[in-house]
């Protein structure tokens, strides 16, 4: 079920109403089926995979906790890693090494053997939405149990809810067991303050997803599909546009997720904090997709030795973490290149700091360079194939004659978005709105409601991170 759908706008109030009518100990009986309904709304087949992952991790973690020998514990961890990463590999990375199947696989002229065609088509068709998100969430759980940081959950239903909790199931934030589970068990009373803040988060989330991201998306698509057609200025707008699109798209989703969860009294972690205002790449990664970057820090970078290793090994660790974080996004070499560019920027910044040559650099210049570097890396992220990169870069300087047609209200919306991002530096939208006088609050609400109703994007662009 998409957040930006009529179905969700009916589903959420029903769940919230029933949630507060039920006693706390029975709420999982509502939230679990509701989460499966939310997920199965796409395709019922998805539920098979999430149930499989849930069952394996539940059994493995229980056995691991009771196991006395280290070998058995390791074996069980191996089973969990293999099943979770195996599914991820099957659905996301097998296709990295195969051609996309002809959608008309039953076409008698298809080059594929019918059986192979069916298998490939089946894999493409059944790629579960958000598999990377819930896989990483359950992985962190089994790893934490393995290292005895947490005790495994005894109640299968509650554990299944931890894996499938609908607000953050398909695109995060990737929550830790120690943060989410106590909240899922707690007795949350209806709290007006929470509900008010939840609506603020959701309203701003809908605004930036539907008005900013969805209005920019067709411009970006046009430029990336036919870069030769458009003028240099249009190519620049399209290229920079993708940076804004993906930010608004993902941050918008995260805010709606936070808001929906807060309606139930459950606080999800912040996933974005105005990342484009970062003054260096380290700061960028502490502000962009925070739940994933902290996941990689805790479950990959530190186990690899972190920075407590020789310099050469540290450099390698950094590059490995960024390359893997790139590949996490999808089955394509371009994502790895995107990750490695970030890795290189990170190393460059650290070297600059160590040698002292960035010490005299003004913050605005450092911030600008970070912004340019991040936007440059997005080209690799968005491009359809690595072979198109040089062509795209070339067209940023020499291109065609056609200009993008951008309605004036889209500029107005983008301007408002940039201004609000500036204002929200080091604060969150619900807190900012709450601190303002009532007239300004209602003008802001009315403005965002108007934009959503009359100026939101019309073409269907699902949340970008659903594919990951």
């Amino acid at each position: 079920m998409l957040f930006t759908s009529v179905a969700f706008l009916i589903f959420l109030p029903c769940v919230v109403l029933l949630y507060y009518l039920l006693p706390a100990r029975h709420r999982w009986l509502l939230l679990l089926p509701a989460s499966y309904l939310f997920y199965g709304w796409w395709k019922v087949e998805f539920l098979v995979l999430i149930l499989f992952s849930t069952l394996v991790d539940y059994l493995v973690s229980r056995s691991m906790y009771q196991a006395r020998s280290m070998i058995k514990r390791r074996l069980l961890l191996g089973v969990s890693l293999l099943s979770n990463l195996g599914l991820l590999f099957l659905f996301k990375y097998v296709i990295m090494f195969t051609e996309k199947p002809d959608p008309m696989i039953l076409n008698i002229y298809s080059v594929d053997h019918p059986i192979m065609g069916m298998i490939k088509y089946g894999i493409y068709y059944a790629i579960p939405v958000g598999i990377s998100f819930y896989t990483f969430q359950t992985l962190s759980y089994t790893i934490d149990v393995y290292f005895q940081r947490i005790e495994p959950e005894k109640h299968f239903g509650r554990f299944a809810l931890f894996v499938s909790f609908f607000p953050q199931l398909v695109a995060g934030p990737i929550e830790r067991f120690s943060h989410l589970m106590p909240q899922l068990k707690a007795d949350h009373r209806f709290n007006y303050e929470n509900v008010r803040n939840a609506f603020r988060l959701m309203l701003y989330g809908f605004f930036i997803k539907m008005c900013v991201a969805d209005n920019i998306a067709p411009l970006v698509d046009a430029v990336y599909t036919n870069p030769n057609t458009y003028t240099t200025l249009s190519n620049w707008i399209g290229t920079l546009g993708f940076g804004f699109q993906i930010y608004a798209d993902f941050a918008g989703y995260s805010l709606i997720a936070q808001g929906a969860s807060l309606l139930l009294g459950i606080q999800l972690m912040d996933n974005f904090r105005t990342p484009y205002l970062s003054t260096n790449i380290t700061e960028f990664w502490s502000r962009w997709h925070i739940s994933l970057s902290t996941w990689f820090r805790d479950y990959l970078y530190i186990p690899l030795g972190g920075n407590r290793v020789a310099y050469g090994r540290w450099v390698l660790n950094i590059l490995v973490v960024f390359a893997v974080s790139g590949l996490w996004h999808g089955a394509d070499w371009k994502f790895m290149v995107w990750g490695l560019i970030h890795g290189a920027m990170y190393l460059l910044q650290r070297m600059g700091k160590q040698t002292g040559w960035t010490r005299t650099m003004p913050l605005w210049l450092s911030g600008l360079l970070t912004f340019i570097g991040v936007q440059f890396a997005w080209i690799f992220f968005r491009i359809d194939g690595m072979e198109g990169v040089s062509d795209h870069l070339h067209n940023l300087l020499h291109a065609g004659t056609q200009s993008l047609q951008i309605p004036p209200y889209v500029w107005l919306i983008i301007g408002f978005f940039i201004l609000s991002d500036w204002i929200l530096y080091n604060t969150r939208v619900d807190r900012w709105i709450g601190s303002k006088p009532i007239w300004l609050r209602w003008i802001t609400y009315a403005w965002m409601l108007w934009c959503i109703a009359a100026w939101s994007g019309v073409t269907n662009h699902p949340f970008i991170y659903f594919q990951f």
Partner: protein, 336 residues
């Protein structure tokens, strides 16, 4: 929301959206007060043969030449079908000037390829704008994708499912479907050349004819439901409704695939004729009225005709209108 809706409509944003996504609505709203006859058509109406045609007049134009006293309006957009005409017809007021509504009925729009076509998402988006609801509500519902907006892969899957599992049956003597699914039928059809090698080009065309026409219409067909709704709306508003069943290239269907396919086409035609001929509805049967040579696309299944084909269809519609007018008290000049 009322204030927002007022601003949206009166500040020109609605008009901009209609221009971009649903351009037929302003035409319907304008023409309902100036026309006696509204003709709803798709590309069959305006396509013509680029070299052979000296006249590029549309089918609706040819029809109108027969009734100089009737004011004709044409609502025309490529790929439109009953499901899109319906919300447009719902927008015509019962106290408008409209007396006759002519709706193009393209048999291929009832097949699986059309029902699950990738074009459907864009068409359904337009249809959402046409629905009789406050303009801003429609706009918001479009943004929330409150219409049939399935992705291409899902549409392909549904299409293939029907082509694989829906069976064709016959109770007519001499007609038997073996293989009895579209998929098997396509797989078995062969056109060996003199050297025994399969002629892929011809086979692909035959394959396409099977996918386009090998189906049996029933009440569950979504287009039938749309057509039924059109009948209901027109009856409620006292519009005289004419379905213009377009000609299909039956000749080529016969030569490429054979009598089984033609039997199905005729069976579907008979179903439509039986269902849509009543006091307030007429169905003009053009199915076999245009010879194969008058189709502008010789290597594909379309309802695009040269001027002879368009005139034949127009004449058949004229005859139906003329007969109907003769039964009413209204006396108008008719040119034969």
């Amino acid at each position: 929301m009322t204030a927002f809706n007022y601003w949206y409509v009166n500040a020109g944003y609605w008009e901009d959206d209609l221009d971009q996504y649903a351009s037929m609505l302003p035409e319907v709203l304008d023409k309902q007060d100036t026309c006696d006859v509204l003709y709803f058509g798709e590309s069959s109406n305006f396509s013509y043969h680029p070299t052979r045609d000296s006249l590029q007049d549309r089918i609706s134009d040819f029809i109108s030449y027969g009734f100089p006293e009737l004011r004709f309006g044409t609502i025309n957009s490529s790929a439109y079908h009953a499901g899109i005409y319906l919300p447009l017809i719902e927008r015509i007021r019962s106290n408008s000037q409209v007396e006759f509504v002519i709706v193009t009925l393209n048999m291929r729009t009832l097949d699986q390829a059309a029902i699950y076509s990738e074009l459907e998402s864009a068409l359904q988006q337009s249809a959402r704008f046409y629905k009789p609801a406050p303009a801003l509500i429609n706009r918001l519902l479009v943004s929330l994708h409150y219409y049939d907006d399935r992705d291409a892969m899902e549409r392909d899957r549904l299409k293939w499912q029907e082509w694989t599992y829906d069976t064709l049956t016959s109770d007519a003597p001499g007609i038997a479907f073996e293989p009895n699914t579209i998929r098997r039928w396509c797989e078995t059809i062969k056109f060996p050349n003199a050297d025994g090698i399969d002629s892929m080009e011809k086979r692909a065309l035959a394959d396409h004819y099977i996918k386009a026409y090998a189906f049996e219409i029933d009440e569950e067909n979504p287009r039938i439901k749309d057509l039924d709704q059109i009948v209901r709306v027109c009856a409620e508003r006292k519009f005289k409704l004419v379905f213009n069943l377009l000609a299909e290239n039956v000749e080529y269907a016969d030569s490429l695939v054979g009598e089984n396919l033609v039997w199905l086409m005729r069976k579907n035609r008979d179903y439509l004729k039986q269902r849509y001929n009543s006091v307030d509805v007429r169905l003009v049967d053009n199915l076999e009225s245009v010879a194969g040579k008058h189709y502008t696309d010789q290597n594909w299944t379309t309802e695009h005709y040269d001027q002879v084909g368009r005139q034949i269809i127009a004449r058949n519609v004229q005859d139906t209108l003329r007969n109907w007018l003769a039964q009413t008290e209204r006396k108008i000049k008719v040119i034969r």
